[in-house]
Subunit: 303 residues, 2 copies
Amino acid sequence: MKYVIGHKKPDTDSICSAIAYAELKNIEGDNAKPVRCGPINPETEFVLDKFNVDIPQEIEDLSNKKVILVDHNEYSQAAGGLKKAELKEVVDHHRIGGLVTSNPIFFHCEPVGSTATIVADIYLNKNKEIPQKTAGILLSAILSDTVVHRSPTNTEKDTEIAKKLSEICGVDIEEYGKEMLKEKSKLGEKEPRDIILGDFKEYEFGEKLVGVGQVETVVPNEVLEQKNQLLQEMKKITTQENYNTLILLVTDLLEKDTEALITGETQNFEKAFQKEIKNNSATLKGVLSRKKQVIPPLEDTMA
Amino acid sequence: MKYVIGHKKPDTDSICSAIAYAELKNIEGDNAKPVRCGPINPETEFVLDKFNVDIPQEIEDLSNKKVILVDHNEYSQAAGGLKKAELKEVVDHHRIGGLVTSNPIFFHCEPVGSTATIVADIYLNKNKEIPQKTAGILLSAILSDTVVHRSPTNTEKDTEIAKKLSEICGVDIEEYGKEMLKEKSKLGEKEPRDIILGDFKEYEFGEKLVGVGQVETVVPNEVLEQKNQLLQEMKKITTQENYNTLILLVTDLLEKDTEALITGETQNFEKAFQKEIKNNSATLKGVLSRKKQVIPPLEDTMA
């Protein structure tokens, strides 16, 4: 049995790509099961519910298991026990993150907007029919990761594959996309800690541990009016978890801007973005993507 | 300009895959150039001469260049300056070796017998016609790496792709394969140092540096009758280059056995292969592949 799994703090792309890739393995006669490490977020719940797909089982430890990683390829973002697991495959769209294996494996990364785009492409290249439900969740994952094709991470391939998927599942991209964006923006009664750690990733730059959370929303003020409480909580987390720097990106999906809140060491951030930080925050004009617009300059400065 | 390059001490797969992949990039409208780091071996010279293909230019330093790696994906096996280069793509068939990038890139590894198999497959998937000469050198690379489909690293895909390539270039696989094997076995007047370092790879297992050379031949006795001189030179290299262990695999392509000569620390080798080392050597029955049959047990023991 191979376990197909996305990153910690799973988003819609991690969950849906795992489900669809496990399904493809099973169609091919392999024995695979999608799993997750962490709770399902409200957007993903909405997506799985809409297309009537089961939520994957949660798993704590990958030790001694056969594992296929989707949507990540670094130890720090993976479920526990990966170093003791038998890594069989990787399908991802992020930077190459230093994994090591003893044996050659199938490892495919491509600079496109979502892992779901690659998974759908693998179905198509192998001439395997994509089931209707599967097309629905893969489309949802593409629209989620690319902010309905508005993110700078979106590529022609994402747009093309999404079009094919929308034909299979019979869903209108713009209409459904807006519905999803609204779902994404519903923060509800979330505590500051949950806002900060909701969509959160850790990076090691040289010896420095950096945490970067992101809230993507069409109503950024709902988040920013809690700035003081958020900063107080961020300072606590910075100390507790020994972060060199902790960043929360509050991204306005409509204006395509990001307000960054920063605690811990701030000089490297100022250097990376040529921005003065005032009251622990800075505005990053035109910034939508953590992966493509925030991590590379930070790493160049800090590593 | 993107430089397409194989590993240090290039073999036929590294050279021919670099040439063919650069050609594909150019067919697609990109601007790419195949290069190499190290001298061409006699087998590769024979192959390029047969299909009338130019020897790629040698390059010393990749710093500040745009680079596509073929047939390797570890810093220790790459040309100098890789950490200062802009890595654009990787196409390989070896273990995943810990590369790190800032940005997402195209990175494709697959557990098949040669990188040339993957390069040919990419041409076919993209519906690009493989030029006759290119088919010839890709076929040669597959036959070289898989020992004419006899190696345990050979897969169905290698056999299928080789068949297609042989149809394009009009070369009989078995007949041409035997001609190549003979060429590979011609050691000529080589010095012990050149035999040891001719097809040589370095690995870091934990803190330990291990060097593993390999001679593939149909006349192993021509090599083994120089055992004493080889061991003397290996001991010198072990000290000079600070190897924990230095291994020379003398592989009999017809009998499918390998005689391993070992200098430096030998206990881990004995443990990995459950073999007693006598007079600095051990016979490994059925062992043909450094990558698949020698490195994994060594790493498991040492890392």
